[in-house]
């Protein structure tokens, strides 16, 4: 018979420890690394918030793009790394976000910096029928299916002359703002979009939805048996991701000003998201952050190379997908396990040693 | 001639150790029974021999050559064939096609479709039926036939009686002497101790991954077997 380890066994020489009683366990979420991470994050945000005072327009524009990519990557990671949904069609939401911004701001007179948030809402709403359709497929065919749906949206937009057809339209209502104010507002919006994406993912993972998603990812049948509504959990993740991706799409074009369908609905957006997440680390909250930075540096270094830039990106992604599926974060984790954001729960035992009570 | 030899074999499933230093020696032409309770490690041992699982320690030698690093499909060509636990026929293939797949990597020998249908007559009328539509006993017969088509020197049978009515089990076991008569070596893993002892010349009992008893059926008392089986 195997012996049951009740924690009460003690080696010779150590003080006797009582058997655990109900109040003897607690759930700890914060780790030493996550305390450091939280401090670093707050410090970093503070630096960014003050950027308009000491940085250049070009710095700010760079940060805006980085924040948008970070948001997109966090959402793609939420889908693929936690919900088990690998989508190659996220560009649908970017385009929906961009065009919703256009219509709401230019055609309906809503302030663009308010409209961009509403655009995210539109994307979230439209993600429901898209998700319901796409969820009829699984795995690799789900991935292609989302791509097809993105193409459908693209074609419907391109065939619509009111939306500018194949040539697109410009975001004219932004002309009401002077350049410096517009840049500032875009910048602050970007900070909220980027930091918000990280915050949302962390919050989801700490919530019941996050537990459900991770259970589904590990063992779908088991999760179902435990009472998890797999379909609704996945759909919830899909809608959140779709909405925030739409928001990021709106943000991009808030900066670029000219909405062009081939660019807005380009699969390259998803390619970037995938690349960032694969490099940084799938299924981890810090992964997309690292990945975005690596991606940005690489893009900077490789801009002169034309097609080779994408060839290099694609090759790195392929190699990493095979050799290091958990990305840079995974590699770092093997050296020393760390958890930057307080998303994991650890069971810690309170030990009572000779009447003293101390929490570990 | 010593056909199969296991020496100090350990096996792990991830962190869980399933076999602890197991040894086994089987001569050519013998019928050997391996008994033990659920989870004792019998199927694990067969999987190690067949190549479905790599041992984490110890050696496995077949006909004098070590099997380390030899993939499962090549072992079939060397003469090791497995009748898996739960039959595991290919559901979309017919009975005949399942048998033919068994011959995918056949050695030279006497087993062919006709002889298999002779040995297991219940399969004849089923030859064009999809394996998914067979009853448990029919599947088991087909699984045995499939393994025979490879003309094995060593036939591994994993829990043939599992889930089958006693009448059917008797019929299947009636076929085994015919196979052994050809000179094939048999390792029969069974929870049904009665059937196992009836066919085997040597019995090994596993308990929680270790050999707890070894001997000839005639020499082993009921009490000794019970103790070794249940570990009491």
């Amino acid at each position: 018979m195997t012996r049951v380890d009740d924690g009460a066994a003690s080696a010779v020489g150590t003080p006797t420890v009582d058997a655990p009683s109900p109040g003897a366990w607690r759930i700890a979420r914060w780790t030493p690394e996550s305390r450091v991470g939280a401090l670093a994050g707050v410090a970093g945000l503070w630096v960014l918030v003050t950027l308009p005072d000491w940085g250049t327009s070009s710095n700010m524009a760079t940060i805006v793009e980085i924040m948008a990519l970070l948001a997109m990557a966090q959402m793609w990671n939420l889908l693929a790394g936690f919900a088990g949904l690998v989508s190659i069609g996220q560009q649908a939401f970017i385009g929906i976000g961009a065009y919703s911004l256009l219509v709401l701001a230019d055609d309906h007179g809503i302030d663009p910096f308010v409209a961009v948030w509403l655009a995210g809402l539109v994307a979230a709403v439209l993600s429901v029928p898209i998700g319901v359709l796409a969820f009829r497929l699984r795995g690799g065919y789900f991935a292609i299916g989302t791509w097809v749906i993105a193409q459908v949206v693209f074609l419907m937009v391109t065939n619509n002359t009111a939306l500018g057809g194949g040539n697109g339209r410009s975001l004219l209502s932004l002309g009401d703002y002077d350049r410096l104010t517009r840049e500032d507002y875009t910048f602050y919006t970007a900070l909220v979009v980027g930091a918000g994406a990280v915050a949302i993912v962390v919050m989801i993972l700490r919530s019941r939805l996050g537990l459900a998603l991770r259970a589904i990812r590990d063992d779908e049948a088991g999760a179902r048996g435990a009472g998890v509504d797999v379909y609704r959990a996945r759909l919830a993740a899909w809608v959140i991701a779709g909405g925030w991706t739409g928001l990021a799409g709106g943000l991009i074009y808030l900066q670029r000003l000219n909405v062009q369908p081939t660019s807005a609905f380009s699969v390259q957006w998803t390619a970037f998201m995938i690349f960032i997440v694969v490099i940084g680390g799938l299924g981890s909250t810090t992964g997309p952050i690292i990945g975005t930075l690596v991606f940005w540096v690489l893009r900077d270094q490789l801009t002169g190379l034309g097609e080779w830039y994408l060839i290099v990106l694609g090759s790195i992604a392929v190699v990493m997908a095979v050799l290091a599926p958990k990305g840079i974060c995974g590699l770092l984790n093997r050296i020393h396990p760390f958890q930057l954001f307080p998303v994991q729960r650890r069971l810690r035992q309170r030990r009572r040693v000779r009447g003293e009570v101390s929490a570990q | 001639m010593r056909l199969l030899e296991l020496d100090g074999v350990d096996a792990h499933y991830g962190q869980l150790q399933a076999l602890f230093g197991v040894g086994l020696a089987v001569d050519e032409g013998e019928t050997v029974a391996m008994i033990g309770a659920n989870g004792a490690g019998k199927t694990t041992l067969l999987h190690i021999i067949a190549g479905a699982l790599r041992p984490s320690g110890g050696t496995v030698t077949f006909a004098g050559s070590p099997l380390a690093g030899v993939r499962a499909d090549r072992r079939v060509g060397m003469g090791i064939a497995l009748v898996p636990e739960g039959r595991r026929l290919f559901p979309s293939l017919t009975v005949e096609e399942n048998l033919l797949v068994g011959a995918h990597r056949r050695r030279r020998g006497t087993w062919n479709l006709a002889r298999v249908f002779d040995l297991l007559p219940l399969l004849g009328p089923l030859r064009h039926r999809r394996a998914a539509y067979l009853s448990g006993g029919e599947q088991q017969a087909a699984a045995i036939g499939r393994a025979l088509m490879a003309n094995p020197r060593l036939l591994l049978l994993d829990e043939v009686s599992l889930g089958l009515a006693p009448v059917v089990v008797k019929q299947l076991y009636a076929a085994l002497p015919g196979i052994a008569a050809e000179g094939t070596t048999l390792i029969v893993v069974e929870q049904d101790i009665g059937q196992a002892l009836a066919v085997a010349r040597q019995v090994t009992c596993l308990l929680e991954g270790r050999v707890s008893l070894r001997g000839r059926p005639g020499e082993l008392t009921h009490d000794r077997i019970t103790t070794a089986y249940f570990g009491m």
């Binding site: 074609l155 | 993939r71 499909d73 995918h104």
Partner: protein, 289 residues
């Protein structure tokens, strides 16, 4: 009468889609691999043919005799050397790797051949046609394409139903681990399956190149069409791939008849309708898992 002609042309177009879809369907059926690089690989074949034609001046259909074996080898090596390591219960690595591969191949082609549209000239057969009525003409080449598609599917059917290799394919498709225990070298057979898939893709790519102009960026569109044909026809059925291709072809040509810019969109909408109403497809055996 234009509608009848549209349907006829659609059926013929279906042959092209079916040819494309066959390789996709094969890879998925045997290996559960959704090959996102499938379209780009077809373009690769077309460009290989282009280079051969450029260098030797032979008819592209003759160049096929070289392109098909080349692509077979590419498929075998690709599977054995890379894709075999991505297959498992998690579909993600395979999706990532094939997607990355599609990007790499497409951009390598762009680098080598530029984005200019090319064509493969097969000579007079391209424009020859049979005039059935005043409104309906059946082109020899589209007819040939359809015939080749049917022929390829027929050959594959025989391969799977009657041969030792075919049984091995079906066995490891049912149960890879047990197949190995029965003596089938699953790594080798997976690679063979990919080789065959890319051999059919070679035919599809060259025929596409003859039919229209092509450029490296066209791969994605072809992938989507092939995928739609597979889903419409139903997974797990080779003949379903033909049926799906034809339905898609007719949808596109009839759509073009309604409104010239709408052909591709109509095809997409028909696909979505099938997905919504009959996810198993027309002849499908399994849910699209």
């Amino acid at each position: 009468m234009e509608w009848v002609n549209a349907v006829v042309q659609g059926i013929l177009l279906g042959g092209v889609f079916a040819l494309f879809a066959t390789g996709l369907s094969l890879a998925f059926g045997i290996m559960r691999l959704a090959n996102l690089a499938h379209g780009t690989l077809a373009l690769l074949a077309a460009f290989i043919a282009y280079s051969i034609v450029d260098a030797t001046g032979v008819n592209p259909l003759v160049a096929l005799l070289a392109v098909v074996p080349i692509m077979f080898v590419v498929g075998y090596v690709l599977e054995r050397g890379l894709l075999n390591f991505t297959l498992g219960s998690d579909p993600l690595p395979a999706i990532l790797v094939t997607f990355g591969l599609a990007i790499v191949i497409e951009n390598l082609l762009l680098e080598r051949y530029s984005a200019d549209a090319r064509g493969l000239d097969a000579g007079s057969i391209e424009s020859a046609s049979i005039r059935v009525t005043d409104d309906i003409a059946i082109g020899w080449f589209p007819l040939m394409t359809l015939a080749v598609a049917v022929g390829v599917l027929g050959l594959l059917y025989l391969l799977f139903a009657r041969t030792r290799a075919g049984r091995a394919f079906r066995a490891i498709s049912d149960d890879r681990a047990t197949g190995r225990l029965m003596g089938i070298d699953d790594r080798h057979y997976y690679a063979l399956a990919m080789g065959i898939a890319l051999a059919t893709v070679a035919i599809a790519g060259v025929f596409l190149g003859i039919r229209t102009t092509f450029s490296p960026a066209d791969g994605n569109a072809q992938l989507l069409f092939g995928f739609e044909a597979v889903i419409i026809g139903g997974l797990g059925s080779l003949w379903g791939t033909l049926a799906g291709g034809i339905v898609l072809g007719v949808a596109q040509t009839v759509g073009a008849e309604i409104e010239p810019g709408w052909s591709v969109l109509t095809g997409h909408l028909v696909f979505l309708a099938v997905l919504a109403l009959r996810p198993n497809g027309l002849l499908g055996k399994a849910a699209p898992t």
